[in-house]
Every structure is written in C-alpha cells, then in structure tokens.
Symmetry: C2
C-alpha cells in the first residue's frame, strides 16, 4: 500500500466521527497534516480532556465537567418547571430556542425493551424521587416524537398519576415554515386533532 | 450560556476539520461523548502522533514518518518514470487508479507569485538536481488542470528543455462517464484539439 501507515491510521480513526466516510476522512487527514497542524494538536488535547473530565450532572444527568451543570446551578431559572428530554443534545436544542427558562432532566435514551433498556436505566425512579422532594409545578415531557419517545413519555406520565403535578407533552403538529402538501399523514392528523381556537 | 465550557471548546476545536460547520461540530461532539469515548481517545492519540511524527520524504517530499516514504523505498517500481504532482493527496489519487508504477515528486503547491510562492518554495531546483543525477526517461507533469497548475507545468517543462528527458503532461479532455452536454466549453475544446485516431 502506498500510504504511510500513520496516515492510514489517522484516516481510519477519523471515521469514528458521524457522517464521515472514507473520502471525507482522507480529505480531513491531509487537510490537518498539510495546513492545520496547530489546530490538530489543539483538537487532540481537547478531545482527551473532554473525554476524561466530562461526567454527568448529579441533578439532571446532562453532560457536565462540574458536579452541578451550569443550568442546574443557575438560581435565576424557574425551579418549578422541569423538562424531561432524551439526550444532552436535546437540552441544547431547547436552550437555543430561548423559549424555556426552567430546569431539565436528561433520560439518556428512551424505553426500549428489545435492547434491554428499562425504566431503571433511564433514571425514571430518580426522577420520581426528585419530584417527591422538590416543589415542581409542571413537568414537560419533551421526548422525541417517535414510537419509543411516545412510549417513554406515557410511562413517565403514568408513574406520576398520584402526584399533584401538572404533566404536559410538547405539541405535535405541522412544522413552522413547512408546506402542508409535504407533511406526512400522521403529523397532519395530529395537527388537525390538536387544533386550537384563534 | 447553557453548555459546559469544555463541550463548547470541543465543538469549536472540531471546526478545524474541513467541511464541518457549527451544526456538524455539535453533532460530532455529542456523538463522541455519548457513544464513542474510546474511539475519541484513540483519535486524540493518533492525531498527536501523526502531527508530531509525520515529516517529508527526503526524496519526493510527500508526507512520511520515515526518511524515505514507502513508494520511494519500493525497488520494484519503475525508477525511470517520474510523476510531478502538487500535493500528497494527488499521489494517493493516482495510486488508487492502479495505473502508474513509477515514482513521484510532490511540489507542495503551485506557482503563485501573488501569494509569494516561487520556484524555490516548490523545490523545483531540487527536482532539476534529481533529474541531473538520476536516470529518468520520462517526466509526467500531473499538476492540477487549473491556471496555476498549467503555469507550474509549463515552468517546469521550460527548465528541462536542455535535458534529454521526455516531458509529458496528463491529457485534458471529457471525463469518462460524463455527458457532452454538461462539459464546459474549455474542456470540450481541449478534447477536440487533443483527439486521437482509433
């Protein structure tokens, strides 16, 4: 083979990045080696530090290098509003809307009996404990609008039936800016069923 | 800001990769942290080793961790055929065709007076020295088919006028598998002018 072994190793290591195939990995490897050696060293250092230092926030289970993540530590946020999401990336997505000022609880996935993921793996018991101890007025279930996400949301809602907490689910409907003719039937049916007076 | 500082640093460090914008960098960072921590550590190690250990082959100037790259060290290759390319990635591209069995010489770019890149920066003097010392029958100029690549090829050809070496340029023409109606005028004119008897 014509390539130096080290370049081949770098190309195959870059394949661990999502969406990076053999051609992109090649392009990345040569680009870093030819033009961005300082940036590559920096990336190497930060990758190592991030993987070593980032654990879970002990309050909401999102990724955090401190025991309490910046969101949970922020006293200016509404402590009585709790939003349940599947992943830390969902936290970021909701934060970037700027439309939510409460706290989060990250499940780390969804219920999936076939993969052996049960309520305990998602920390749902810990969530119930938290709701028993803290003064939470409303729990927003913002799991993904997939079959598994819906099942997870329903399961959590069931567990909380006896508590005096308002439990809500994010709205399903047509995406803003979309065109009706391209929206799938299931979504459109949800949008009709969930219509609101204006 | 809602993200832990370390994740933000990782996301911005990933932006050094070509073709990776803010959204892809976010996705990559969370993917590595949530699912591929071992692979991320491996990538960190290999990045550091590659940047530290990879230098230039002293014979052809391609990227190599050894003084002589695997291609130059391979005695089974045709030592009398030399192909001049702009970058190490071009070497890989030609090698992957499987249609060339000679040696390479990597310029590391093209002539570009406006950017202050002259013949010395490309090691063209070193190339001429090599041709004076070694028995080379044919020199193939495989610089890019761009204005700068053409100028570089012509400059090198001029330097070698007095040497008894056959100098050739890779063919310009219509790409294999393309359709004539989508080929640009310049390429089509080249393809017509360079027509060959069948």
């Amino acid at each position: 083979m014509s390539l130096s072994p080290l370049i081949q190793q770098l190309i195959s290591a870059l394949r661990c990045l999502p969406g990076v195939g053999p051609k992109s990995a090649q392009r990345m490897a040569f680009h870093l080696l030819e033009r961005e050696r300082d940036a590559a060293l920096l990336l190497s250092d930060i990758l190592r530090t991030a993987v070593t230092d980032l654990g879970r926030c002990e309050h909401c289970s999102t990724l955090s290098e401190t025991a309490l993540c910046p969101l949970c530590a922020d006293q200016s946020r509404n402590q009585k509003l709790l939003c349940v999401v599947e992943t830390p990336m969902d936290v970021l997505a909701i934060e970037q809307t700027g439309g939510f000022n409460g706290l989060y609880y990250v499940l780390g996935g969804h219920l999936s009996p076939l993969d052996g993921v049960g309520p305990d793996d998602l920390g749902i018991d810990k969530l119930v404990q938290r709701l028993l101890q803290e003064q939470v007025d409303e729990l927003i279930l913002a799991t993904n609008p997939t079959v598994e996400g819906e099942a997870t949301a329903h399961y959590i809602a069931e567990q909380l039936q006896d508590l005096a907490i308002k439990v809500s689910r994010i709205a399903h409907g047509v995406p803003v800016g979309g065109e009706l003719e391209y929206v799938d039937g299931g979504t459109l049916a949800h949008a009709l069923a969930g219509r609101r007076a204006i």
